[in-house]
Amino acid sequence: MSITALIHILFQLPIKGFCGANLALTQNWKLFKKPHTTLINTKLNTYKPLAISSLKTFANHTRANLKDTVFLDGNSLTVQQVYKVACFGVKVVVEQNALEKVEKCHDYLLKALKNKTIYGVNTGFGSLATTRISDSDASQLQENMIRSHSAAVGSPLPKEVVRAAMLLRLNTLAKGYSGVRVATLRLLEEFLNREITPVVPETGSLGASGDLAQLAHIALAMMGEGYVYHKEEIVPSRVALEREALNAFKPAPKEGLALVNGTQMTVATACLCVIRAKALLSALEDVACLTIEALGASTEWLNEWIHA
């Protein structure tokens, strides 16, 4: 372990142990790397601190963070990074400047809500858009929507597909055009980093308005309902939230819609497909070469003149 890495860990220990603020480890690391960065606004961190079950787990967590955390700002995510987070458990952190944008957007939404009719925020959904919903029912509307849209059936989608979808939704929310609270991004971030993966049935999406049902199952798990994989084990979502000392999501206006309306489950499969297909092409080249050698085939057809 490098000296810098050791310093990082020492730097993080007291913060984790004594401050009780839910500062993501890598945020601290970033602060340490860039001492002039503005301090993280603690009001953005509304969740309880990470319960550290053992020093070993903590050390692993830390090491993974230092090595290759993916930083999200809504603009710079790559397909390869999606694969790393989805399949190899790499940690994620939303950049501070993105969170500030998210907060501004949420504030504007609350202001606009007072004098505008906004689809899915103070109206019903789909063809029910003509029904006006009263301000006092705005949160209930989102909660109802998440439950009623959790209508997918069949075998669970692979964990890595669901992880990729959560990451992709987190990144799109980080752009700051959805009107959600920072706390909602934080909870998605925690789901990824603590390996809480909603159990999402595979069938029911039409691919417009996005993958409504599948994404609703993710939002449902955030509310502490339905089932999740907690690491390898399937448990009721409520149990995983309790174990990780996380508060269940209680949607603010628009937040159900903002989590559910999108292409992320489809795009998740596409990201996994592209990396696996690229790896496959490289494997198939190697295998074809082995066959060519086993058969003692000629290689005239590879001549540079043919392929230029």
């Binding site: 489809t266 592209v274 496959l280 003692g296």
Partner: protein
Amino acid sequence: MAQRMDTRIRPIPGQVAVAQNMRRKLQDSKAIGRNKRVQEAYSIRCIPQVHGAALESLEFCERLLNIEINSVSDNPLIVPEEELILSGGNFHAQPIAMLLDLLPISLTPLGALCERRLERLLNPAFSGLPAYLTSQSGLNSGYMLAQYTAASLVSENRVLCHPASVDTAIVSNGQEDHASMGLLAGKKALKAIENLWRICAIEALCASQAVDLASIEQKLGGNSRALYERVRSVAPKLEKDQVLSEQFEALYKKLFEHYTRAQAL
């Protein structure tokens, strides 16, 4: 070299890249050119063209995806900069559904090539080796069924090439009257790629057995030798008939792990 650039025989970048890779992978081989055929079969001779086409598709998909994963697919959009709240349709997955339909179509021909090369490994008329790569053909069936399994996987992939993105649905009392079927396309593409990894493993296993029976292990180039050793680390040489399923699955997992890790990390 300048003259070559001028003649430009067929400069499709994917094809050029695959040919370049394969020349490099075979450059130190002492095993090639033993069969003295005038021309190789298409399943060998046309690898750069067929793999190259797949590579082109993949690059198209990745370029589009890198845009999509940094986009907002929400509705309505809240734009605080201009104090706007806008209803649009960015949740529509059509561009991604179409690229997901393209993936199995681009890759299924590669599996078909594998299956044809398997024939050349298993058929003594082409390989000059014992039928089905077993020492006592007749009493032993060797890798006879390897081709059946591979052919079955190729066939399944052809079915998975049926496009989803041309389908649609009309829901929500007619308000939402077009859909992309993107996730259906995605599930098909994931399955097709998984099938291809299995086909890939089966060819690797049979090619390794052919290397052993032809006693050319020492003549292999470095790249093929590494693959041969990776194969043999999970599946030893087949001496007499045994259950093949477990070998196929173990090697599929080994190769998938190794190559995806190298690709992603």
